[in-house]
Symmetry: D2
Subunit: 366 residues, 4 copies
């Protein structure tokens, strides 16, 4: 209700502030018997971690996740899994410059108006640091999706600022700091990002995320459609301003004869729908995209007001993060994983028994 | 849980199939004392109703809403409001052509795989007919938002197929069947739609929806952000494949210095954020957009399979709806209204008491 | 959230006032393929119906349930099942005696303080008439519990006022208006109830309700225990003031050596726990009890206040219902059925896969 | 959904096993500005803590709560409050005696059948150790209820085994290890408990819990009644088998003329209803009772089965806890506090605006 829990069946309750003692989450509804440990979580956490390249923020955080409950002898028990990540690089800051001023395009003003005051240290609860716990929880969901359903979730950056990127080598996206699936163009990206930083400015990014192997039938009409929940999942990530499923906004100018995914006994002929029809998975690969706005903290001064409503100018100093989208791919993957597993369990609860004599179409149709 | 209820505090539980006896909804959590009656609901229902122009489906439905509970002496009582719309044009159809075949790009296949069988009459639960109840529920939410908060919700069609439309006359969108805010271009739209229909084809559409007067502070971090819930609300509408808040996908190529909404004591200088920052309303006008795919039912034959997996060809006959997006504006407005009121009540429950001595910024800042 | 929905997976959203146009409910999350029709619902509705004997209220209601969605060709489709019961005996009453006064021990005062005003006609939403929709929804749950799990739910009245009743003939409870499982004592009950009515007074009742055949493993620690949800389910019935599971309050004075249910390979030796241990079903018969207070409306005058706070005296005239508990057995059975099916689906969603190599104890242990 | 979260608006998500690394909870939906710190939580935690007298279990736990988020500069921020209690006395145990056997009347068997295996160390998740986090969360709720509404929540033990206890000195219940409000009888209790322990046996207990100062209007018809949620709250506590509101089971034999709480302009004449009518608080003191079963672990051997279904005998050795009810009073108070605050916020969200011109009865009526 208060908004810090995701999901209906596989639920993730997130807590923690950017510069508080710790961040973490409680996963409830995870089926028993899934083999997980801290090393598994660390793989994804390290992909999102700050300070890993010169193109992202230099905050030093180990981002070490500690599992304190819900796992016994290496397997989930079916009871809540609590994960805690201590904040280690949050001490002895000087917050005097942001304590009494609203940073433009940050959540500062909105939080202040909502709660009457705010934890101003590093953005408090509104900081993207919170997404680390989503990544940890996502690692649990990915493990079960892979083990029980053979589902593979991947993502990559398809645009940084004005540079559009293809995906000739999807696996490469896991091995470079740009999450770029077109590795030959990484030098071009480096030059571009370096120039943006020298300008004291920032740019946005576009991320693609896919899930292969999702069976047909997941998603709940009419409000909790799978596409609706994926849209919410991605839009809930910091800085995201747009979400698409399949062809997305391109469908506006398309003709029905070009867009519809015709079917044959061998499967669908195309996947314009992005693997979801009528809000329910069709058995094809699920494909979603999201747009992230340019980083709000830039060194170019900007107009703003103080917490008492007086005009002032915001001067952000020090190194900044020229493109927040650069670290968003593992977050998008995690949110997709969590959303899919939640729907898998919901579907299983309601529809585990096939209606006698009226079974689904035999055979796989992807 | 099973997906037919929207909201946490102001909840709408929808029911009904396209060709069943009736559709309807139960609204729970509506505050007491709101003046509503069936005539109020009818205003919005008539805007969405089929058969109102030659450019939309010719199904004849009175779409008359009957309020059977929750209203006493003209006002809501605080108890559940049940609204029932009888289906009147659903009789004596011949379903033999669709009973045993999956219509391409419809929900037929996905529903079949989910439930083991399906109500094939007119799409059953997956039909856009269900959106009538959203419009009825939205009318209740709009009334309270207007009465208690002075909020005004409007929308218009900004693109039909390849034709982009401006909004020089927003009020005009309420008076023409295209929901077009640029009325001088209606003849052009008529020609375009007529041509699409003659081709036996269809096109998509793009809708803008705005809420003016929303106070700062609505929305719940971190998952139930206002923008995340709006994204889900719009993506849950039939045929929607993309959602944007504020500048949407344009942010990808923007620089931070151009995108950020600077603040002055007189208010924000721009509204690139679409009225939401950090997932919480900023006091500016909320602006969202959505993309609807072209109608799936077209007269051009297409490949598909039968319910037993055999290849066949789909021939849709009779008049069809060349652009489902044409009737989507009131649905988008309704979903925005429901989402906003839900968040208004959630915020009020949690934050009605301002922290003593730490009040929000004095004065309006829009 | 607003309190008119029961359940997490198999949900029942109730609506309607005692003297409004109709009462009803929407069931969401019912698995597909269950064979139900209106005749099935009517069996249980007729057991609860008013006017069936001289010992209960003489309101004349057909209580005919109409299923308007979610059932196709005789089976549930997996989509919401809306059930509507029109109110037929609610017209042309004279409410002047209760409009401006709070009836003692009714919900009148509490509703007024909560909502600022109230639908005073027959108690409005607070009337026990609402329980008819619980019985209708319960009939759907019972059908699935019986078909898929072989579960049998029964109940009887174990005490009326000062008369305690055994259960030598449990089946008899379905065939007499007292829901009495000791039919030889019915003449004694008739005399007793007639005397209470002649006194213008009322008495309470105690109901037992059982579910046989529930498999071990239903219920969710730590808050949504099966016993906790059954307690809520029964306490949510009008006039209920106490709930027990198994030995209930008798456990206070028992010794652990007498209370514990020892186990053998052939099963449990006793069932003091009422079929639930650690909040989870043990495979034994579930047994719960509830206490209903005496009817609040009696002809003996009582002190009360008007809606403006003035002292007055309440004079209820006409025939009254000397023991509201007399019709509560089918309601308790319905709530138990709804609660069990909800937990069955929750358990199935989370735990359908048994941990490889670590299966539950083989064989039934009841 | 998976059962480890309490509440709709003020939510408590609990985690942790008896002998895992830590237990704790996340509170979401707590309004901003409440002054809390770890010392506040410790007061109630110390009341529940094991090892405080020779009449309860001798496990040594500091039960020190650490608040890691949601509090800034001494006040709640409106964001999630995570509380962690490290387990310190859980190491180097020998579990060989319980690993492969189901302890009679424990949750061992039910958990095993539910999840396929279980964390057998000290009962794992089913241990009453989990209630420490309820007490910590309850302290937060009590603080806000006291600060904003002036509500006072108290409890005491009204029966231990066969010894019934009055409450001539309610305040005394906070100062003795029996939570006894009749301190003169403590020597009698000491003798009784000592004898039970010497017998190697255990007894049950009955607890009363009250909330004074609750305004009229809290509670949501028809399912989420205040009494229904209190019943669930208390029944969710380990070992509880019965719950009563007001006169409870005594109402069965009462006449309506004796039970009804008549009203006068000065207030209600009696409080048989326990402060709740029609499921909504009436403004009177809320009064609930609960029955706890005798401790399941006793030294008298008992029959049971192994995890593979073989007959065996359970021999519990060492000191045991002769009456688990002795430490249950602060847990009951905590659950009542959490439940009340949740309803306070729900009511405020939905009904903060009084219907113009139709206000509640002026003046307090308690």
């Amino acid at each position: 209700m208060a908004g810090n829990t995701w999901g209906q069946h596989f639920t993730v309750t997130s807590f923690g502030e950017s510069h508080g003692a710790a961040i973490g989450c409680v996963i409830d509804g995870c089926p028993p018997g899934i083999e997980i440990d801290e090393a598994l979580l660390q793989i994804d956490l390290d992909r999102r971690k700050p300070g890993t390249s010169r193109y992202v923020t230099q905050r030093r955080e180990a981002d070490e996740a500690r599992i304190v409950s819900g796992v016994f002898e290496g397997r989930t028990t079916g009871t809540p899994i609590a994960i805690i990540i201590e904040n280690t690089d949050q001490r002895s800051r000087d917050y005097s410059k942001i304590k009494d001023v609203f940073r433009p395009n940050h959540a500062d003003y909105a939080y202040n108006q909502k709660y009457g005051f705010r934890d101003y240290r590093g953005g408090g609860r509104s900081s993207a640091r919170e997404t680390a716990v989503r990544v940890a929880a996502g690692a649990v969901a990915r493990k079960m999706l892979a083990d029980r359903y053979g589902i593979d979730i991947t993502g990559y950056v398809s645009q940084i600022g004005t540079i559009k990127l293809g995906a000739p080598d999807p696996a490469a996206a896991r091995t470079n700091p740009f999450f770029c699936a077109e590795p030959a163009r990484i030098p071009e990206l480096e030059d571009y990002i370096n120039q943006i930083r020298r300008d004291g400015d920032s740019v946005g990014a576009r991320i693609e995320v896919m899930a292969a192997g999702v069976p047909a039938g997941w998603g709940e009409p009419v409000f909790d459609r799978l596409d609706a929940d994926i849209a919410k999942a991605l839009m809930s990530i910091n800085a995201v301003k747009g979400v698409e499923i399949g062809d997305g906004f391109d469908v506006v100018a398309m003709r029905g004869s070009a867009h519809r995914d015709e079917m044959t006994p061998a499967g669908f002929k195309t996947n314009h729908s992005g693997g979801i029809q009528g809000g329910i998975s069709s058995g094809q690969t699920i494909h979603a995209s999201m747009a992230l706005k340019p980083t709000s903290s830039i060194t170019i001064p900007g107009d703003t007001v103080t917490t008492t409503g007086q005009a002032t100018e915001m001067h952000t100093t020090g190194r900044h993060d020229p493109c927040v989208g650069l670290r968003a791919t593992p977050i998008a993957e995690a949110m997709l994983a969590i959303t899919l597993l939640d729907h898998a369990l919901r579907h299983r609860g309601q529809n585990a028994d096939v209606v006698p004599g009226m079974s689904p179409v035999p055979g796989t149709i992807d």
